[in-house]
């Protein structure tokens, strides 16, 4: 990091990044609880958070297991959902300019939150600060919270009693908000993605509605009213 250490912008980016990590921890707790409730052991649950380290996929996998779906269905919907990280990585690669071991580590940290924080910054330098600090913060809190949630499930009961099912969509919306403010095309694509998901939820296996929302990108290429 070459930014001046006393740069207030850098400090505020670090603060926001750690704040994201802390907030994500709240639903790491929910994941730990949901995973153990689905029948995975505490060790299996923690390994998923440490090694898969991508919340949407993890929720999808244990969701399918809990819903009685086959293990193959759980894996495929998890990987379908995880494939968005490939696109995040393509977006992040030129920003991060990571090589060697650093790149292998950056790959592990390529998730919704670190990507959203990195691309929301004004300069590549701040993007790198946001990426690594969000990755670190989310990694620490997500894994701690997973362990606590897994261990505490029997004592705690249904985590939705504590409103965690409302926390997850609100947190995703908070991550989406800066993009919605960026322009009309962003808003159109977001609406399209949301509409596709609503329609497909009852029609397709879990995981597919999110992946299929990519089709909303077609809305970015055809601009209604331009013909006038």
């Amino acid at each position: 990091m070459t930014a001046a250490p006393d740069d207030p912008t850098r400090a505020s980016v670090i603060r926001d990044s750690l704040g994201v990590g802390l907030a994500v921890g709240a639903y790491g707790f929910a994941f730990g609880a949901a995973s153990v409730a689905a029948g995975l052991s505490v060790l299996q649950t923690s390994l998923l958070s440490l090694l898969a380290f991508t919340g949407g996929t993890q929720f999808a996998v244990v969701g399918v297991v809990a819903g009685g779906g086959s293990l193959a269905a759980a894996l495929s919907s998890g990987l379908l959902l995880g494939s968005r990280n490939t696109l995040y990585a393509m977006r992040l690669a030129p920003l991060l300019q990571a090589r060697g071991l650093r790149r292998l580590l950056a790959a592990h940290g390529t998730i919704d939150e670190s990507t959203a924080m990195a691309i929301a910054q004004k300069s590549p330098q701040l993007s790198r600060v946001a990426f690594w600090w969000t990755f670190g913060g989310v990694f620490v809190f997500w894994n701690l919270a997973t362990l606590l949630g897994a261990v505490g499930t029997s004592a705690l009961g249904d985590p939705n009693r504590f409103g965690l099912d409302a926390v997850v969509p609100a947190a995703f919306l908070a991550l989406l908000a800066p993009r919605l403010r960026a322009g009309a095309i962003e808003r159109r694509v977001a609406l399209g993605g949301a509409a596709i998901a609503v329609v497909l939820i009852p029609l397709t296996p879990p995981g597919v509605p999110v992946l299929a929302s990519c089709a909303a990108l077609l809305l970015a290429t055809t601009i209604p009213g331009r013909r006038r």
Binding site: D16, G19, V20, G39, L40, Q44, L47, L48, L51, A52, T57, V61, V65, L71, A72, L75, G78, L79, G82, R84, N85, L87, Y88, A89, M90, R91, L92, A93, P94, A98, A107, T110, N160, G163, L164, A166, P169, A170, F172, L173, A174, L176, A177, R179, L180, E186, V189, A190, G192, G193, I196, A197, I201, P206, P209, V210, C214, A215, A216, L217
Partner: protein, 101 residues
Amino acid sequence: MSLWTLVIATAVGCYLLKLAGYLVPARALEHPRVRRLVELLPVALLAALVVVEALAAGRHLEFDGPRLAGFVVGAVAVWRRAPFLVVVVLAGLTAALLRLA
């Protein structure tokens, strides 16, 4: 397939999916149109995630009062540009209190 196979396959698969994005040649992103599409992809995916997490219960649409109320309160906080942590706490608290009532 045991649960262990599932855990290991998910972990390995997820890492390889992430790494693949870094191994695609940078030239693929030089075209402004391609770059714009890659920029917009998370927008579509995050919007779908919001909807799925707010409305889905497995393969069903479920309009759960406390969950939706908590989400709406969280959404208002997002709109008012509240910090991330405030959004999360307000959403969770709203749903939890409604379930107590």
